[in-house]
């Protein structure tokens, strides 16, 4: 129920900050989304959308950091496996 889905902003319309509406692509499926809680969002940004409302802009650099951390675990484990195979 509290799931929010990441989608990419394709266009933004409206001047009233409380009625800011964006067209958001969810893997190609377009939906109109209320962007008034993410007024700093730009076209091309990914936002988390829940119940027709964007609740957060996905921070690309933080996402990259998390993913790099996960990759490091993978690399370490692979190195460990290789070391075990050699010994």
């Amino acid at each position: 129920m509290c799931l929010a889905v990441p989608g990419q902003i394709v266009s933004i319309e409206g001047n009233d900050p409380l009625e800011l509406i964006g067209k958001v692509s969810f893997g190609g499926t377009m939906r109109k989304v209320n962007l008034s809680c993410v007024p700093e969002a730009l076209i091309g940004d990914y936002v988390l959308v829940h119940a027709g409302m964007a609740i957060s802009i996905i921070d690309a650099s933080e996402a990259e950091l998390t993913y790099q951390y996960l990759k490091e675990i993978d690399d370490l484990a692979t190195a460990e496996d290789e070391a075990n195979e050699i010994s």
Binding site: Y46, M53, A63, K71
Partner: protein
């Protein structure tokens, strides 16, 4: 980057689970608060990747589950009135009240419609000026900004034929209720990432300190959940009890100020009854006086409902992490998703329904 598939890599999941095993030296019990995380854990078998020392308990964070029977009865009472179009998220349609659910009254002719967002319901009010549009506003903090915004816009645009039936609940009071209970087993929490995307995590800092429990704000994909567990276990093994943020790509410490602003504009904190748990002080939201004309309960004159819950159902103990679904005599027998006895079986995000769907056989059988 699509921020989805990258966090579902099975090889990385196994490596992360291996990392968790490496650092675990004691028995630990962790609760994921959110029903979405419960569903992901059971669906992807995340708990089966973990070492035997770690027990995952499934918390009360499913708003469909904890919406009290009385409110569903009220929803049905409103839905069958002439001129009403009753709008609800799909999850709520099959949840039984005392006698019926919204889908069955729809089959009998009531105008009940499934919507994706409260804004769809608001648009319906504009398009149907001779009808009364009522939206079933359930949810935790994640959903509150959208519902608040719909009411705010209705008032601003002077849309009179729109109202909401409010069943909003809050996460921190539920966590405190669990931790302050005498038979609490929970030693660490995965806090719900999307609730924190709205609210931030300042509210959890005093809870972590007072009860000495680590709380890690966690996302919803399998790798997020495993990393959240890893971070909780790291803290437990080192005797730390802090609030950490695994889901930093979506959650800031102070949350989303605009979202909090619109919630505070429209809602106020009130006591709420939770299905399976009972009434808790300051555990929910209701409309502020300035917006009371949009309250469906007063618009349709519905007050004073009281319903007793099944005494056979142990969902209250499951929601507080004291029991698990297989501990229940009724599980899968006279309690199934088609004929649920209580909170944790009524929604796919409830612990019992998730176990029923993905795991019919108890692990020791």
């Amino acid at each position: 980057m699509k921020y989805l598939d990258e966090y579902r890599n099975p090889k990385l999941a196994r490596q992360l689970a291996h990392g968790i095993s490496e650092i675990t030296t004691h028995n630990w019990t962790i609760m994921e608060v959110c029903g979405g995380q419960t569903h992901a854990i059971v669906r992807f078998g995340i708990d089966s990747l973990l070492p035997g020392e770690i027990t995952l308990l499934h918390g009360p964070g499913c708003p469909v589950c904890v919406t009290p029977v009385e409110l569903i009865d009220k929803a049905i009472e409103i839905a069958v009135r002439p001129k009403v179009i009753f709008c609800s998220f799909g999850d709520m349609m099959r949840v039984p009240g005392t006698g019926k659910d919204l889908l069955s009254v729809k089959a009998e002719g009531a105008d009940v419609r499934m919507v994706y967002s409260p804004f769809d319901a608001l648009k319906m009010a504009v398009d149907n000026p001779d009808r009364e549009i009522v939206f079933f506003a359930i949810g935790f903090e994640t959903t509150a900004p959208a519902n608040a915004m719909a009411v705010y816009q209705a008032k601003k645009r002077n849309i009179k034929n729109f109202s909401i039936l409010v069943s909003h609940v809050l996460v921190p009071p539920a966590i405190e209720a669990i931790l302050s209970s005498d038979n609490n087993r929970v030693q660490g929490f995965l806090a719900a990432g999307h609730v924190c995307a709205v609210m931030g995590y300042n509210e959890y800092i005093p809870i972590a300190g007072k009860y000495h429990v680590p709380i890690v704000v966690t996302g919803f994909e399998p790798l997020d959940i495993l990393q959240g567990i890893y971070m909780v276990i790291c803290q437990l093994e080192k005797g730390r009890a802090e609030v950490e943020n695994q889901y930093s790509r979506a959650v800031k410490k102070d949350g989303n100020p605009q979202a909090i602003g619109i919630m505070n504009e429209v809602f106020r904190i009130i006591p709420r009854k939770w299905r399976g748990i009972g009434e808790m002080p300051k555990s929910g939201l209701g409309l502020k006086h300035e917006y009371s004309e949009y309250d469906a309960e007063s618009r349709f004159g519905l007050t004073g409902y009281r319903v007793e819950e099944s005494s056979e159902c142990i969902s209250g103990l499951i929601l507080r992490g004291i029991k698990k679904p297989f501990d229940c005599e009724a599980f899968g027998k006279n309690c199934t998703p088609e004929r649920p006895l209580g909170a944790t079986m009524v929604s796919s995000e409830g612990a019992c329904a998730a176990y029923y769907r993905y795991r019919r056989i108890a692990p020791n059988q």
